[in-house]
Symmetry: C2
C-alpha cells in the first residue's frame, strides 16, 4: 500500500505545479488505512514560509485528531522532508515516514534543503544567519516555573 499512498502525495505535488500555491511538493498522512490529511506547499499563496506540504498535512491531521501527537500515523511525502518538516514529524510523533524524491533531487532544481541540513550542524559563529547566545540573568525563570508546576503537560 505504501506505493499507493506515496503516489497520492506525488499527485498533490503535481497538481500544485498547475495551481501555483508554492513549490512542487505534496504529502498525505495515513492512519489505520485511511488518508486523514493532505497537504501541499502553500508558501507563496499563504505568505507563510512554514507552509511546506508536510507541515500543512501534520497540522490538518492533528486538527482532525484533536491532539498534538499522531501515534500510529505514517507521513507520505513526495520529497524528502527538509529539517523543519522532519523535526515537525518528530514533534508530532508520527510512526513512519515514506518519501520518493531525495534532498539531492530537490537541490538540483534550486531548493536548499541539502544545505540546510549542513547549516544546522554548524557552530553558531559559522552560520549564514548571524546567531547570538545572550544568557540574560533569570532568563531560565520560565523554565524553572514550568518544571515546578505539577500540572504541566509534556509534548
Amino acid at each position: 500500500m505504501d506505493e499507493i499512498y506515496l503516489q497520492c502525495a506525488i499527485d498533490l505535488a503535481s497538481a500544485n505545479v498547475t495551481r501555483g500555491d508554492g513549490g512542487p511538493f505534496g504529502a498525505v498522512i495515513v492512519c489505520d488505512g485511511d488518508i486523514i490529511a493532505e497537504g501541499w506547499n502553500r508558501v507563496i499563496v499563504a505568505n507563510d514560509p512554514t507552509a511546506h506540504a508536510e507541515i500543512v498535512a501534520i497540522r490538518a491531521a492533528c486538527s482532525r485528531k484533536g491532539h498534538f501527537h499522531l501515534p500510529g500515523c505514517t507521513l507520505y511525502t513526495s520529497s524528502e522532508p527538509c529539517p523543519m518538516c522532519l523535526a515537525a514529524a518528530y514533534w508530532a510523533r508520527v510512526e513512519r515516514i515514506v518519501f520518493a524524491n531525495s534532498r539531492e533531487q530537490a537541490a538540483a532544481i534550486g531548493f536548499c534543503d541539502e544545505n540546510l541540513y549542513g547549516e544546522l550542524q554548524l557552530p553558531l559563529q559559522q552560520r549564514h544567519i548571524a546567531t547570538c547566545h545572550l544568557p540574560l540573568p533569570d532568563a531560565d525563570l520560565p523554565l524553572r516555573r514550568w518544571l515546578a508546576n505539577p500540572g504541566h503537560r509534556c509534548y
Copy 2:
C-alpha cells in the same frame, strides 16, 4: 537594545507558564526597531505540534508583512530554536537570531531539542522514526514540471 527585545521574549515565555497554552517559550520579531510580531508556544491549546513560539511569531510577521521572507528582521527567542524553528528562520530569511536559554537548559527540563539535532543527522536506517526512501517511477515529474515552468517563484 538586544537585551530589551530578548527580555520581551522571555516575558512572553513566563506569561505562558501561567496561561498554559504550551511550553515555557516565547519569541518576538523586530524590524526597524519595532516589534512586528510576538509568539508563544501554543502546542497544547492549539493541538498543533508545530506551534512553537518561533513558528507562531514567524507566521504572524509574514502575515503582517504580506511576504514569505523577512529581510532585515531579527528573531528574539527565549530559548535556542529547535531544528524545526531554526530551519523555519532560514526559510524566512531572517537576518539575525538572538536567544537566551540553551538547548541543554531545555533538555534539563525534559524537552528533546538536543536529541533532535542529533537525530536529524543519522542515516535513515538509524533513526527512531522508521523512514523509507521509495523512489517510485516518475516521482520527479512535479520537480521537472516546476523547473520547466518559466513563471515559477522561488522561496
